[in-house]
């Protein structure tokens, strides 16, 4: 009993010490999050004299509605199919069906997401908020590439700098430097590097290939824009994760390595059976942190591309900000951030499940 009361006393002090931190977290994380859920069910505006009204799941529906439109090919007066110059079947423009056409109420106002041909018919998957869906796909693409590549690269760097060499601190600082610089500054600098006219990257590639390399407008081309931003993002944050890996590496007991040496293990065997198992918890942390950071991709987009060209670099967070503040549609922005929260939550739960302690 006495022991308990001592614990309780300590608890009390603990709670008092934690209160400032907790209240700030509640104020700036929990409250806004609850507000986001509430706003996403209304038509709340950033500024408006009109009162917000409850609209149920309308914001979610506007964002996620999909439709299917099947159209036949264009035919001439005799009923035979019209072909274009290249001998391809021609289809009518979809705007005929989606704009003010009472015969097709289910695709009213929708845009074509993608389409394929089925027999001689064209099947188009339609979306009411095409930009959001593109943002969703881009964000997932970004995470799928950045999380493993950044994690692996950071591990390689950590292994390289975890050696007792003279001057290793210089390398540690060099690799870590981009992390210290603000992402906005880094983005501005990389815009010059990626410049299509006389950027550093094009000049370097052209010099290396003796002028054979055709300059690429890295950020202005829909095929290269997202990849360019990925490469730059990986480079910028890799140092941070390198440090986490490094701290993980240094918790592994040197005696294990000595034993491995005595046993005559190769360096691959050492890594496979000592280093990697020793890094298990670090790996879980690094993976989850990178995934969550990658989902919140915003500053690079805002500074470098504004979501363009042709929506190839739209991301969920950029769209959230654009909609909530730029277009003053707080409810739409809130709905997006709730969707993003659910995605990130389910992915981290899934990662936790995959990396759980198996007994």
């Amino acid at each position: 009993m006495k022991k308990n009361s001592v614990l309780a006393q300590h608890n009390k002090a603990g709670w008092i010490f934690a209160t400032p931190g907790f209240s700030l977290m509640v104020l700036f994380i929990v409250v806004p999050f609850i507000l986001a859920i509430v706003f996403s069910m209304t038509n709340q505006r950033l500024m408006s004299p009109n009162k917000a009204e409850y609209v149920g799941f309308e914001n979610y529906a506007n964002m996620l509605d999909l439709g299917v439109l099947v159209v036949g090919p264009k035919v001439d007066a005799n009923g035979s199919v019209l072909l274009d110059k290249n001998g391809e079947v021609q289809y009518p423009k979809l705007r005929k069906f989606t704009r003010n056409n009472p015969d097709y109420p289910n695709v009213q106002g929708m845009k074509e997401w993608f389409s394929f041909t089925w027999g001689d018919k064209k099947v188009a998957i339609m979306a009411s908020d095409l930009v959001f869906l593109k943002a969703l796909i881009n964000t997932f693409t970004f995470v799928l590439f950045v999380a493993p590549l950044q994690g692996a690269l950071a591990l390689v760097l950590a292994l390289l700098i975890n050696q007792p060499l003279r001057g290793i601190h210089i390398f540690r600082s060099i690799y870590f430097m981009p992390v210290v610089v603000s992402i906005v500054v880094v983005s501005l600098l990389w815009r010059f590097i990626y410049d299509g006219q006389n950027g550093l990257l094009n000049n370097a590639l052209s010099t290396i290939t003796f002028g054979y390399f055709e300059p690429v407008d890295w950020l202005g081309n829909p095929d290269t824009a997202l990849g360019s931003i990925m490469a730059m993002s990986i480079w910028q944050a890799v140092g941070f994760h390198m440090i986490i890996w490094l701290s993980g590496l240094q918790t592994i007991s040197p005696t294990l390595y000595e034993a491995a040496k005595i046993e005559g293990a190769s360096s691959w065997q050492t890594f496979r059976f000592i280093t990697w198992p020793g890094l298990r918890n670090t790996a879980v942390l690094v993976l989850i942190v990178i995934t969550m950071q990658a989902f919140s991709l915003f500053a690079q987009i805002d500074v470098m591309t504004n979501g363009g060209p042709l929506d190839s670099t739209q991301t969920i967070v950029y769209q959230t900000v654009e909609r909530g503040y730029g277009k003053q549609d707080i409810s739409g922005g809130s709905a997006m951030s709730v969707v993003l929260f659910l995605i990130v939550l389910s992915i981290s739960l899934f990662q936790r499940y995959l990396t759980r302690e198996k007994n």
Partner: protein
């Protein structure tokens, strides 16, 4: 414990006494807070401070206290302050944004006699629902900036305000300039500048084609205006500027935007009066400031720049309006013009300036403003219309399908208007 309590009480009462003392001594004048977007611009700050000092010294009722913000975060600061019910008495507002703020209840109509601003340029008068909410101390205008020698080189006539280039003539100019091979691009439209530059600089082209951002007869829909035949013709012309290599696209280097014309990378530039001074200093009399081409419905440019207004929460609208009226004196309008190159809003102020007086090197901007300037749609929905238009133009420049893109833009604008109960139109 007791001692500290006592000490605290003494300190509190002392400071309370102190503040009573200060407020009683200052009872004769009332403080008016003012927010301004020009932080970081030394010349602008000097002039606005001068006006505030002159006003404070000219009478004993009011004392204006100025606070400056950087332009980039100014609108956000105002919105945040409004949500927190913490607006200053006097604030400045970008002309096209004013109806939105007035509609949202951030501004109140000015108590200024309309005859006082009768001969001001139309662009600087901020009317919404027939009430004057804001007045500008200057206007801005855009022109095609090029050099006489460049046009002589390709044997093209110099257009005038009365007889601008037609679309065909303009296209011919681009073709000929491109054929010389001397320039990276014949025309620099400035796509490196994002944001408000797009609707400000490029929607007049659309209007000259016969389209618009919105149907101005009721401000309730963009259908038929932003995706009608005229607008599609504009969109296709716009796309060709980039697909045929007449103008650098969205990924233009901002440094080239600033210096490309001076360095000879571009032959012509679509740019504002604020940029003309540098070019005139470099090329002198050779510089031409030309009107926009006439695409069928007259040559047009945008109007309206930053303006002063009074917040709805101000307890002293009379004093705030008095300050704004004080700032509208010709000598201040001329000082801004000389200092930062903007267009003075009255003819009499223009005569006091070195650039805009009769025969001055930039006088043509005043004439352009007077003859062709068209305000952006005066509606609270403009904020969204501007964003949607910007994205549509950027996408079309990148090669998106013109009709589909304009349709999407119309849908988004119309949906926004509906969700806002027609913005009280």
């Amino acid at each position: 414990m007791k001692i500290t309590k006592k000490l605290a009480l003494t300190m509190l009462s002392a400071s309370a006494l102190g503040s009573t003392f200060v407020s009683t001594s200052a009872v004769a004048t009332t403080n008016l807070s003012m927010w301004y977007h020009g932080a970081g611009n030394v010349v602008e700050a000097r002039i606005i401070n001068q006006i505030v000092n002159d006003f404070n010294n000219s009478q004993s009722d009011w004392n204006v206290v100025l606070e400056s913000f950087p332009q980039g975060s100014y609108n956000d600061s105002v919105i945040a302050a409004a949500l927190a019910n913490n607006l200053p008495d006097i604030l400045d507002v970008d002309g096209p944004v004013m109806p939105n703020w007035a509609w949202a209840g951030y501004l109140q109509p000015l108590k200024i006699d309309k005859t006082k601003i009768a001969d001001f340029l139309p662009g600087v008068k901020g009317y919404w629902n027939d009430k004057l909410y804001s007045v500008g101390l200057w206007d801005a205008a855009v022109a095609l900036i090029t050099r006489r020698s460049i046009l002589n080189d390709i044997e093209i006539r110099v257009p005038t305000i009365d007889s601008p280039w037609s679309q065909q003539e303009f296209n011919n100019v681009l073709v000929k300039l491109k054929a010389t091979g001397k320039y990276d691009y014949p025309l620099d439209l400035g796509l490196a500048w994002k944001g408000e530059w797009f609707p400000y600089a490029f929607s007049p082209f659309l209007q000259s084609f016969g389209g618009d951002l919105i149907d101005r007869s009721n401000y309730k829909t963009a259908e038929g205006k932003l995706n009608g035949e005229d607008a599609i013709a504009f969109g296709e012309w716009w796309q060709e500027l980039f697909s045929k290599g007449y103008s650098p696209g969205n990924s233009q280097d901002p440094a080239d935007r600033d210096n490309g014309l001076i360095e000879g990378k571009y032959a012509m530039q679509w740019n504002g009066n604020w940029a003309a001074l540098n070019i005139i200093n470099k090329f002198g009399d050779d510089v031409l400031l030309l009107p926009a081409p006439d695409f069928g419905h007259g040559s047009k440019i945008g109007a309206a720049s930053w303006q002063l207004g009074v917040s709805s929460t101000s307890a002293h609208p009379q004093g705030a309006s008095e300050f704004i009226e004080f700032a509208l004196q010709d000598k201040y309008l001329a000082a801004f013009s000389d200092g930062i190159g903007v267009i003075p809003p009255t003819k009499s102020a223009a005569e006091l300036t070195k650039n805009y007086k009769k025969g001055g090197p930039m006088a043509v901007f005043y004439d352009l403003s007077k003859a062709q300037a068209m305000v952006r749609p005066v509606t609270p929905g403009y904020i969204v219309e501007a964003k949607v238009f910007e994205k549509a133009l950027a996408d079309i420049a990148d090669g998106a399908d013109v009709e589909d893109t304009l349709d999407s833009a119309v849908d988004e604008i119309d949906a926004d208007i509906q969700r806002n109960s027609d913005y009280s139109h």
